[in-house]
Symmetry: C2
Subunit: 246 residues, 2 copies
DNA sequence: AGTCACTAACTGACTAGTTAGTCAGTGCGG
DNA sequence: CCGCACTGACTAACTAGTCAGTTAGTGACT
């Protein structure tokens, strides 16, 4: 799994060979086919693995207010282009997503991820409504809009290299959606500054930056270099904390 | 070019072989490599070809009011899932787009397409501002938001097969953006009904449905079965009217 | 303790299938 | 007879998946 993650980052999805994955492991390529019927099978299981971690990850922000959680959500989606590991992983995930129309297993997993992602955002919106923090609206449609807009911005940034999409869409949603959503003239917290994020999330971010390396030359052999966010835009996940199976 | 288009629709991008393209032609595969240095070269030229047609296509709506043009734009982007040929083509284009991070030529063409697309939408918005039809806003940011949202909705619909994204995002943008944008309480025209579209566009739509067939068994050999929209979400284009080169 | 039987994890070497790109040569219009 | 469009047959490279066989762990029986 960790090997799969690293191999994806390095080679992307279409250029990914079974050998590449095996190379990132101390095991052989044959073993992969001993455990899985095909390469696609393995990748489908990788998706499963990714999304399993999603919910616990979200739970960490449980104690925040709806507005704050919304801000974290936005920030998590629209992270800056400077996070290189995440970027190459997301490009690979994007490649994988585009294979979903041809692959029922992928489609099913991604649908599951989509459910999770939408559930999270809708819950934030509903909580906000209930708490009177947000003005009246349809959470389902609003969630769809936000996810589509953020996903679209990310995709265009990654594919054509137009970084400005991220900030423009961030600002535009703040103007058109959040300013109206927040009833009492409150403007939306521009959470870019990591220091406003809850501590657990900061740790995750930090870890995310190290993620791919999986233990640099210098470090304590014990440190948990995990947590690189793994989201195809259909939902997210972390990647291996300890060496999970093979 | 037409062969490339049809082959893309049928096989998608990753499964597309040079032979597939040649098969859609009365020429041989070798000829492709006589004209182009590589398959990617050919595809890059295909993108160029696509985007060349974009501007003329847009020009057809020149005489409409900004509000109407905006409605046409939305409709054009968020066409329904029943248009099968367009769908498979867009899936292929999406696959192609995800290769852009690895391919400078693709990236450059797609950037050009992005420029065109944004220019069109920004012009609509600016015209609307000037005509007093739209309330004050930043056309650049708004354009970015709309394109990202529509593109994202389309992508999620295509990849995970969730058709509802299209309508939800359509409704949500109407609620959050268009209702505010249209100063005088006017609600946004729900243009789903093709009969409200200008005639030229209708013709195009119709043609689009035939697009892939390229002359069914019955038809006049002379009829122009062209016009299937070709947009990777980075901009759009038609596809061959007459057999263009090779 | 020894050894036999059984199984699951694991491997290196191999194959079969695929495909981008090449090349030597053909036909033809001017 | 030149040069251009064009072709069929070929190859070189790559890779998913297979397979025959090795190793290591576990338990059971004597």
């Amino acid at each position: 799994m960790r090997g799969t993650y690293e191999a994806l980052c390095e080679h992307g999805y279409t250029e990914l060979t079974a050998q590449d994955i095996a190379d990132r492991t101390d095991k052989s390529k044959s073993l992969l086919f001993y455990h899985y019927d095909s390469k696609e099978d393995l990748l489908a299981d990788f998706l499963e693995f990714l999304f399993e971690r999603f919910d616990e990850r979200v739970a960490e922000t449980r104690d925040l207010s709806p507005v704050e959680r919304l801000a974290v959500f936005v920030d998590w989606f629209l992270y800056g282009p400077e996070e290189n590991d995440r970027q190459s992983f997301h490009v690979a995930m994007l490649e994988l997503r585009t294979q979903a129309p041809y692959n029922e297993a992928f489609r099913e997993k991604l649908r599951k991820g989509d459910d999770q992602l939408r559930a999270v955002l809708e819950e934030i919106l509903r909580d906000g409504l209930a708490a009177g923090e947000f003005s009246e609206h349809d959470p389902e449609e609003t969630a769809a809009l936000l996810i589509a807009a953020f996903d679209g911005a990310r995709i265009r940034q990654l594919t054509i290299g137009r970084d400005e999409y991220l900030e423009q869409v961030r600002t535009a949603t703040a103007t058109w959606v959040f300013d109206d959503l927040l009833a009492e003239g409150a403007s939306f917290p521009a959470d870019r500054d990591p220091s406003t994020l809850p501590e657990t999330d900061q740790q995750h971010r930090l870890a995310a930056d190290l993620g791919t390396e999986g233990g640099n030359g210098t470090g304590d052999p014990d440190d948990e270099t995990n947590g690189a966010d793994a989201d195809g835009g259909d939902a997210a996940g972390d990647e291996p904390t300890e060496r999970d199976r093979e």
